[in-house]
Symmetry: none
Subunit: 366 residues, 2 copies
Amino acid sequence: MTKHVKGAEALPLNQILEGDCIDVMNSLPAGSVDLIFADPPYNLQLKGELHRPDNSKVDAVDDHWDQFNSFRAYDEFTTAWLKAARRLLKPNGAIWVIGSYHNIFRVGASLQNEGFWILNDVVWRKSNPMPNFRGKRFTNAHETMIWAGKDEASKYTFNYEALKALNEGIQMRSDWVLPICTGHERLKDEQGDKAHPTQKPESLLHRVLVGSTNPGDVVLDPFFGTGTTGAVAKMLGREFIGIEREAAYRKVAEKRIANVRKFDKEALTVSASKRAQPRVPFGQLVERGMLRPGEELYSMNKRHKAKVRADGTLIGDDIKGSIHQVGAHLEGAPSCNGWTYWCYRTEGKMVPIDVLRQQIRSEMHD
Amino acid sequence: MTKHVKGAEALPLNQILEGDCIDVMNSLPAGSVDLIFADPPYNLQLKGELHRPDNSKVDAVDDHWDQFNSFRAYDEFTTAWLKAARRLLKPNGAIWVIGSYHNIFRVGASLQNEGFWILNDVVWRKSNPMPNFRGKRFTNAHETMIWAGKDEASKYTFNYEALKALNEGIQMRSDWVLPICTGHERLKDEQGDKAHPTQKPESLLHRVLVGSTNPGDVVLDPFFGTGTTGAVAKMLGREFIGIEREAAYRKVAEKRIANVRKFDKEALTVSASKRAQPRVPFGQLVERGMLRPGEELYSMNKRHKAKVRADGTLIGDDIKGSIHQVGAHLEGAPSCNGWTYWCYRTEGKMVPIDVLRQQIRSEMHD
DNA sequence: ACTCATGCTGAATCTCTGT
DNA sequence: TACAGAGATTCAGCATGAG
C-alpha cells in the first residue's frame, strides 16, 4: 500500500492509493490516464458514501420523497466522481462503468450530462447467475457496462482485430457470455468468507483491456476493491492505478497482485489492424517496377479495365485518377478500395494488387 | 381508426386512437389500465450517411419523430409521457419501456424519478443484428427493456410458471434471445418498402404479455406504430388501446389487426425449439484463464507445437492465426478442427482442448 | 423437387490524415 | 478548421433465380 503522491508531476503507477476516490483523483495530474474502469457502489442506504455536499437533514417525509432524495444524493455522488474522472482522462481516453438496474440508468444519464460520448452499452450475460428464489421476477442474469469516450471527438482505442480473433473470426458483439467469479479465483478473507461482495471475474477485465487499451497504457480504477483491474492489467502489460478506501480490500489486493505474473511479450502481441500498418502509395509499385506504365489492370468482377500511368494514376475509358477514384467511378459507388478492387495478370492468373503492397510491407520489416 | 372518447366513463378498447399520446392519455380515465408497453423514439442523433462494405447505403432512421434538439428536450418529453402513463395505470399496474443506449438511461432515470419501481431490466439479445460496418465499435446486438411497477407497493402480475414453461422448464432469465423482425412478419407499404422503420417482433411482445398480463387485461401502447402490441394482445385474448399520431401507421395497423385471429387455447402452448450446441470461441478459454497467454499447445501427433496469445490466436514457428488455421498450415491440410487437433499439458498428461470447451458448454446449461 | 449462388437488408450516434 | 483524398469495413436470414 502506498500513499498517493501530492503534486502533479509524478504518476503513481502500479500502486493502490488510499482514500476517497474523488479526493485522490483530484490530486493526480489532469489528462494523464488512458482508460478508467469503474465499478461504483450502488447501495442507496449508505449515505455516508454518497458525498452530499450539504449535510442537510431531510425532514420526516413519505417514502416517495425519501426515495427521490436518495436518488438525488446518488446522482450528486455520481456526478462528482465522473467529473473528477473525466479531468484525469487524456483527450483520447475512455471510460467503462459497470452497474445493474439499480444504478446504471442514473450513471448513464450522468455520463451523457457530463459530456462523455457513449460508444456502446455492453451486457455481461452471466452463464451461472443466482436464481430468483421467490419466483417473483426474472432471474437477474446480467449486468450492464457502459463504454464511453471522453467526448464526441475522442479517438478512442478499439482493437477490432484482436476482439474479432477472440471471438473466432466474428466481430465481437455487445453481449458477452462469461461466468461469475467463483472457485479458486474468488478471494477469501482470513475467516474463509468471500473477501469482497462483488468481485468481478478476470475474464471480463481481460476482454475490456485487450479491446480498449494498448500495452503500456495507464488504467485507473477508482473503486479498486480487491483489485481485479490491477491484476489483469499487470498480466497484460498495462500500468494501473488503484484507489480504495477500505484497508481490508487494499490488503487483499496488494497480495493478489504481487502474485500475478506478466505474460510473455510474444503472447501479448495481438492481431493488428490494417490501419496500423505503414502506408504504401500505389506509385511505389510503378517506381519499383512491380507494375509497368502502360500495363493493364482488371477489376475484380472483370467488367472494367484501366491502364497504369508513370505517375501512379490510372486511366480508363473516360476517367483518370487514383486507383480508388477510378474504381469508384466505374462502379458508380461512393468509394472504393482500389487495393482490393484491381488485379494484374501474372503467369496467366489474375492477382489483386494488394499482394504487391504486402510484399513491400514485409520488406519494410526486415 | 376511431376518434378517442372524451369523458372518463368509457374505455375505448381495441381501437387505435389518433393524436399526440400525452393529450390522448390525459383524456382517458385514471387508474384504468393493467399494462403499458412503450416503444418511444430513441433520439438516435445520426449525422452522415453510412455505407456497407459493398457500398450499399444503410436505410437510416431519420424520421422527423426521432428528432430532439437536446438531452433536455428529450428528458422533458420523457417525463411528460411517463406522468400521463402513470396516471392511467391501476394501482397494481406495470409498464415496459424499450430503448437503446441512446435513450434508455434517460428513460430509466425518469422512471425512477416519477416513482415507478423497477422490477427488472431485460435485454433483448438479437440473434441477427446489423453488424458494425466500419469496425469501430462492438456490434450493437441488443436492446434494453425496463419493466417497472407503478410504485414500490404494486402487486404486479408475473406468470412465473408460464414463462418457465416457455423456457423448457428453466426459470426465465433477464436476457432473451430473439430474432429481429424480418421476412413475412415485416409489414410493407404499397410501394413494397418497410411500412415502419422499427417494427418489433411479435415474439418479443408475446413473451411480455404472457409474462406480465392475464387474459382480459387492458394493455395500452402510446407509441403504437404498426401495431405489434395490438396484434399480439388480440391473439392472446388481451384488450388493447393504441395511440398513434401518423395516419399511415394507423392504417397499416388497422388492417393487420383485423386479420389476426385469437389463438385457440391449445395453440398457446408453444412448441419447444431444439437448442443447438452453443458456439464457444477459443478466445474464451484464454479470457477465463483455462489457458494462459504464452502457454504451449501440442498437436495430437506431437509433431508440432504453438503458443497461445492474449487474443485467442496461436503463434507457431512461421505462422499465426486461429487454432484451425495454424493446425491446417502445419499439416499442409486444407482445413483442420483445432478443437480436436490441439492438446494442452496438465498434471503431466496431454489433454485435448475440446475438453475445456465441453466444460464451458456444461456451465452454460446451468 | 432440391441445391447452390447471388443479392438485399436490419433503431447505427460507424475514419483518418495532410493541407 | 474545413476540405479532399486515401483506404478500411459485414453477419444472419430470407428472397430470387439458375442449374
